[in-house]
């Protein structure tokens, strides 16, 4: 594989407006409950007393995460039908003619990128707007971001262009799947781990009980 498409996300610039999430949902006409790109609101911490002074020991920031088109996609490894495959340019796609909707990939993906589409009985996920990419355009989420917090391209080129890391709190250990993702962390991300911050919009992104 000569190329590996990936995303760059600047958490320090993201305001959590969710334009990327909505642009994705709109472009792909996703049903209620399906979000191929999710904006997670990470919040946590409390006030702490230092002598007579109360100091906020809190963390709050946003993470815009979709399928990371991992270099080692665990979803593809576990898929019994071989419906999930990697293109030459590293984009991970689903062959809907093969997918039987067993949802095994949904268990396996630590980014919850794979989502079951009730209407078709198959899995669905971000496909990097490959139709736009093939025409030389940018993915819908990247185009929609008013803060320019999202970028895309060959992951090695992104790593030269930006400084960043592959994992911030609360994303999983990047060694699991080697995501094609580069993140410029928010200044609160280290503190968030310390104060055990949580996803405060879990219900909205379909990852917590209502």
């Amino acid at each position: 594989m000569t190329k590996q498409y990936g995303f760059y996300f600047d958490a320090s610039a993201c305001t959590g407006c969710k334009a990327c999430q909505m642009a994705c949902k709109d472009k792909h006409d996703l049903d209620v409950g399906l979000l191929w790109r999710r904006v997670y609101e990470i919040t946590g911490g409390e006030w702490k007393q230092d002598g007579k002074t109360w100091i906020p020991d809190i963390a709050a920031y946003h993470l815009s995460i979709s399928c990371n088109h991992c270099e080692n996609p665990v979803c593809s490894d576990v898929c019994p039908t071989h419906a999930i495959y990697k293109r030459q340019d590293g984009i991970v796609l689903i062959d809907y003619s093969k997918c039987m909707g067993c949802r095994y990939c949904e268990w396996a993906c630590p980014y919850s990128a794979l989502q079951f589409d009730e209407a078709f009985g198959t899995m669905s996920k971000c496909h990097f707007c490959y139709d736009l990419i093939d025409r030389g355009e940018s993915p819908a989420c990247v185009t929609a971001c008013p803060m320019r917090a999202l970028d895309f391209g060959d992951i090695s080129r992104l790593k030269k262009k930006y400084s960043g890391v592959g994992r911030v709190y609360p994303l999983p250990d990047e060694r699991l799947t080697q995501p094609a993702l580069l993140i410029n962390p928010h200044k609160d991300s280290d503190r968030a781990e310390k104060v055990k911050a949580v996803v405060s919009n879990g219900v909205e992104v379909g990852r917590a009980r209502k």
Binding site: C99, M100, A108, S112, L171, L176, R207
Partner: protein, 304 residues
């Protein structure tokens, strides 16, 4: 956790019961061979294989209910290279095929028939591989509650537990049919020995399942200290069901013990023995269904 997993609860339990019944049936055959004539044990061999087939085919049929697109299920064998789910499905199909062949071969033939022995041996190996694949497919890196040694150990324990329960039930049925038959009573001591073996094994395996339930419950309790972006207290809500599962297993074990006492004294009529045994089976079976439901309900993955 994606949706309701009842189809998988019954698929895994029935498949394990099918494999277990075949294995327990073959062990029973060895015990019976020592004490009974081949003519007497033929019906039991046939019945155990048929029961294993019914359970396994029901399991495979139920697995389709889990699929979003069952018509594409024929693609399930596409990824034998890296998917344990593909391997599980292959093993299930091979097991079922060999089981059908073994049933046909055991049809009014001698139990010592070499061809039947080879086919049954191969079916047992396919069945054991099925349980192994079934266990390993759940051991996904990052899924904290599944990726642990208790997953294969409890799956294999369930296999033998359900298998010996079924074998014991079939033995009692045979004993009952002999006792009500007008024909000359056969040497049923072989069946009593087999029933004792089934009872003892069920008792031991049920106690091992209690141990696994306690280990899992304790491990879940520890997860409250492990990071999760979502509310980890959800896992603790299942403590009541874990307690209920343990109580049901204990109740089943007590009834198995009482069945043993009744069996040794032989004072009570056969119906009393049956009542105790089937009550024990009911408790253990409900506990196993509850345990498997909990297995899926405690799905807990690191990440987002």
């Amino acid at each position: 956790m994606p949706g309701s997993e009842w189809a998988l609860v019954f698929f895994t339990l029935l498949a394990q019961a099918g494999v277990g019944t075949l294995i327990a049936g073959e062990i029973s055959k060895i015990i019976l061979n020592k004490k009974s004539s081949s003519k007497e044990i033929l019906p039991l061999i046939f019945k155990t294989r048929l029961t294993a087939f019914i359970l396994s085919s029901a399991a495979l049929s139920l697995s389709f209910l889990h699929l979003g697109n069952p018509l594409k299920a024929f693609n399930a064998l596409n990824n034998l290279r890296s998917s344990w789910l593909s391997r599980e499905i292959l093993a299930a199909v091979v097991f079922l095929f060999l089981l059908i062949v073994s049933i046909l071969l055991s049809w009014k033939r001698k139990p010592s028939d070499t061809a039947a022995k080879i086919v049954v041996g191969a079916a047992i190996l396919a069945g054991l591989f099925l349980i192994l694949a079934m266990s390993l497919l759940y051991m996904l890196p990052g899924v904290l509650t599944w990726d642990y040694i208790t997953t294969p150990l409890s799956f294999f324990t369930s296999t033998f537990l359900l298998g010996f329960m079924a074998a014991g039930g079939l033995s009692i049925t045979e004993i009952k049919s002999f006792s009500t038959s007008s024909e000359k009573e056969p040497n049923s001591s072989g069946y009593f020995s087999e029933l004792r073996t089934a009872l003892n094994t069920t008792f031991i395996l049920a106690s091992i399942q209690i141990l696994f339930a306690i280990i899992t419950s304790l491990r879940i309790h520890n997860y409250k200290d492990i990071y999760s972006p979502f509310d980890p207290s959800l896992l603790l809500e299942h403590r009541f069901l874990f307690s209920l599962r343990t109580i049901l297993l204990l109740a089943g074990m007590v009834l198995i013990f009482l069945t043993q006492i009744k069996l040794n004294s032989r004072k009570d009529p056969l119906n009393v023995l049956l009542w105790f045994y089937y009550s024990a089976l009911t408790f253990i079976l409900i506990s196993e269904i509850l345990g498997r439901h909990l297995f899926y309900a405690i799905f807990y993955r690191s990440g987002i």
